[in-house]
Amino acid sequence: MIRKTITPRNNWQSAVEKLGFGFHTTNVPYWDESVYYELSMTEVHQIEKATADLWDLCLGAVQHVMDNKLYHLFNIPDWLIPYIEKTWTEDHPAIYGRFDLCVKDGKVKLLEFNADTPTSLYESAIVQWFWLQDFDKSKDQFNSVHEKLVDYWKYLKNYLHPAPLHFTCLKETLEDLTNVEYMRDCAIQAGFETKLIFVDDIGWDEHSRQFMDMEDQPIKNIFKLYPWEWMVTEEFGKNILLDVNRTFWIEPSWKMLLANKAILPILWELYPDHPNLLAAYFDSALLTNYVKKPILGREGANIEIVKEGELLQFTEGEYGKEGYVFQELLELPNFDGKYPMIGSWVVGQEPAGIGIREANSLITDNVSRYVPHLIK
């Protein structure tokens, strides 16, 4: 992997805005095309294989958690367990996820899995692809995210209820809405009738026991960019069990297990020394150099990096009350103080492409930048 500095397109802001990418800059730059990463085809194949293998490991880990009733490690409420198991045994549709990987010295290692509400989908599928068309059309990218999303929605059409497919996210967040609207775009192209409803506008009809949209039509299939761990603690959470329509929520609730960092020690216990895993435990006693992560954290918050007993780096935040895991420290590759992390997409069970987040420290946080890539 090589980091290359270039001059951004003169009109890059308008170029990305024409694609509907409005959050390219917040108080700090987010989309950064003053640099790109060049990967060899060998590296791409390594990442692709690791992604496919990790997906298989994860499915095995879900079954293991269920067989051994390990839900307490995930801070999952008892009342939800039968529903989670039901969505697993009935194979409720899931469409995507993003593995965060450290690619270094010929190795590909899992840092964590964003299995429920992965973002940066639009940047990965669309924005960096159109950047490449302007920068060097002759080059290729590890990126078939868009094609795979459309294809997988087509495949899922026969598995969903014969009803409109709703899409939901929080209000007032352009990033979340862009991700959701892009996903909806793919579903429309797959032939779905779709509707958008913001998550706090979702209605519950106590009389008929149905979730309702803004036209008071029942919601029977819904793609949500809203985490299960938030949903189940909210007022309507338990209504999911009462819902007469048995609505398909996508991603399904069994993804809660994979989105939770408690899955990392489970994976290590099941597959010790697997080449794509780092040692991980529920306590730090067995590790000298490690990263302490909250099981339900987001965007690099509440992370501590400990090396030789010393606190090397840490971030603050509001997570951690549900517990922590401890993962062997593998420092991201250092390109003159810039640290890239690979987000590798799995769409419909298959590796689909990557996006790269670059940070100024070992912790990839909410001010890290999205940078494009190409294949050498």
């Binding site: 409005g22 964003n114 929080l170 352009l174 998550v199 979702i202 209605g203 965007e299």
Partner: protein, 110 residues
């Protein structure tokens, strides 16, 4: 690694185009159920002035929200929306409670 060189975006293209012609777009938007509020945040993250896109955003912004811990929703600012969407709280909608999801935060960014 790319299966095709051509990427089509039907909804997002339509949403962006609608910013320039909201009335016409609304009249013909039923096929993709592109509610006007869906187009709202397709605006720049930071505005240096109020342009068409920003006006569009405010026009179709839903005006229900959490206040003092409880959810209240009255409808949408725009009259261009489907009337049933814009009715707000009334007897017809009395059986449906809203606001039971969505207190989780500002973004789910991962």
């Amino acid at each position: 690694m790319k299966k095709s060189k051509y990427i089509n975006l039907v909804l997002i293209t339509a949403a962006l185009a609608s910013c320039n012609k909201p009335d016409k777009e609304w009249e013909s938007a039923n096929k993709v159920y592109m509610r006007s509020d869906t187009t709202a945040p397709y605006t720049r993250a930071h505005h240096s002035g109020i342009g068409t896109a920003l006006l569009w955003y405010y026009a179709f912004r839903p005006y229900g929200n959490y206040r003092n811990g409880s959810y209240g929703r009255a409808g949408y600012y725009s009259r261009a929306l489907n009337e049933r969407s814009n009715i707000g709280n009334n007897a017809f909608k009395g059986a449906v409670a809203r606001g039971g999801f969505g207190r989780g935060g500002y973004s789910v960014s991962s």
